[in-house]
Amino acid sequence: MKFLVLISNVPDTTTKIRFVDDNKAFDTTGVQWIINPWDELALTRAVELKEAGGIEKITVANVGESITEATLRKALAVGADDAIRIEAKPKDAFYVATQLAQVAKNYDVVMVGIEASDYNGSAVGGMLAEILGFNSVSAVSGMNIENGQLSLTREIDGGQQKIDVETPVVTIVQKGIAIDPRIPAMRGIMMARKKPLTVVPAVDAEEKTEYISFELPPPKAACKLVDEDNVKELVRLLQEEAKVL
């Protein structure tokens, strides 16, 4: 089986979010870019499965400008076999999915994180599947290959389900698919330099949504503190002031 893991390049999760250009653009000054945490978990599981002998090849792909190559190199260091960067500024989810479709059609299993921690679209995986006519499974928290057949665990309301699904398929993965992202070994980091990273030109695609402007949430009022021996007062505030009890 051939796996394609989609990699988003996102600001480090501790980044202080700021906007520039009259709140029309995200301020990238001093931002450290990382692999989207859910994509990193997807890659980690793919590498584990490859080490167990179930996968022929893992490719990582990204739609982005050259700045994203460091992120792809890290994915190669973690254990992907090759990388593809589609040369384009990612616009909306449909635009990105259309770009990825030209690459993803050659794979059996596509893995993508449940959302990207920047624009929180949660849409690329589903759109890509629909464009290619692949099935898609969302909220995947476990993946195994048993006798050459893909076996998935997904989160459903109140629990989990084990399912079989025909390939090709887009799996939209979440926490649980792997516990911690894999730290690349030194050997992997050295090898990453020699692994192929192909740059593919963008295809024409429509942009269906546009980000007009951004805003930060209003500052929060200070926390009202209650004495440790006066829990009664806390309950009163929640009942009478917040009206949530």
Partner: protein
């Protein structure tokens, strides 16, 4: 033309979010002078279907076809798209949860529509169609314009109040005509808890962190949750240590929740944790460290020993 709402049920009862979605659609529909149609897939009794009318659905399409029980995304998307076409829907609304996230993008491609996910309010304008959504894991908002005629939205949970209206709903059985060969998901095993409050649907969530010291101390949290009818969750270190299951982990990489009241015990409030809970209406923090960042996010707090606070709290809520 109409607005179409994708509703969800849990063991035959509509989730609260379904009523939120219908209320939201109705508020928009009134401005556009259009009717709201609700789509229900699953085994839901007629009385329950009628409930959707209380929030403004004028028509309820009932798909009682157990082939959809396998939650095959491709088939579900085809069913929604079929209904959207037959209802001539201009705006299609899903919840921003696992189900909505799975189906809405597929429906958007099928109908050549524009999708915005995680919407938090009614559109700011209809022409151009602009909505507000959360970005950067709830640390900011964006205003997004949808260009195509068909607009598809996933609504962030707890971002719209329930509004009851006069009930004029008609329910009808609906066949979305999805062929057998579209279904390609086989369910082998289901493990689900019934009769417990769904974390993502709970109005009150009780959450424990590393300050709880160990899994043996969770009894009091469970008791409190039982009395309040609350969901139970935990921070990442707790699930990583194996004190509680991963399904209870809330935070940026775990479940994202938005209850009315989020009660934390011994959670310091790392930025990654807050990313998953900051849409809660009210946050209460109980932590012995006055410097813990959770107090920056909380509305009410107690700086003190949670093991002293918990028994008192249980006594107080019992009296309610």
């Amino acid at each position: 033309m109409s607005l179409l709402v994708y509703t969800e049920n849990w063991d035959g009862k509509f989730k609260k979010l379904s009523f939120e979605l219908v209320s939201y659609a109705k508020a928009m529909a009134d401005k556009l002078n259009l009717p709201v149609t609700a789509l229900s897939i699953g085994n839901v009794a007629d009385d329950e279907l009628k409930q959707l009318g209380n929030y403004g659905a004028s028509k309820v399409l009932n798909v009682a076809d157990n082939r959809f029980d396998s939650l095959d995304n491709k088939a579900l998307a085809e069913a929604v798209a079929h209904a959207a076409k037959s209802e001539n829907a201009q705006i299609i609304i899903f919840s921003h949860n696992n189900v909505g996230k799975a189906i809405a993008p597929r429906v958007a491609v099928k109908l050549n529509g524009g999708l915005v996910s995680g919407v938090t309010a009614l559109p700011e304008s209809f022409d151009p169609f602009v909505v507000k959504k959360k970005v950067f894991t709830q640390k900011a908002f964006a205003h997004v314009q949808i260009d195509p005629d068909i607009k598809i939205l996933t609504l962030a949970q707890n971002s719209f109040e329930l509004i009851e209206t006069e009930n004029n709903a008609v329910t009808e059985t609906y066949d979305p005509q999805v062929a057998d060969d579209v279904f390609s998901t086989t369910v082998k095993e289901t493990n689900k808890v019934t009769g417990k409050v769904l974390l993502t649907d709970a109005e009150i969530v009780i959450s424990g962190g590393r300050g709880m010291k160990g899994p043996e101390n969770w009894g009091q949290l469970e008791e409190l949750a039982d009395i309040l009818g609350a969901g139970l969750s935990c921070s990442r270190p707790v699930s990583d240590e194996g004190w509680r299951g991963h399904e209870e982990h809330v935070g940026q990489t775990g479940k994202i929740i938005a209850p009315n009241l989020y009660f934390t015990f011994g959670i310091s409030g790392a930025i990654q944790h807050l990313g998953g809970v900051s849409s809660s209406k009210f946050i209460v923090a109980i932590n012995k460290d006055p410097e813990a960042p959770i107090f920056e996010a909380a509305d009410y707090g107690i700086v003190g020993d949670l093991f002293k606070v918990l028994p008192q709290l249980i006594e107080e809520v019992k009296k309610m």
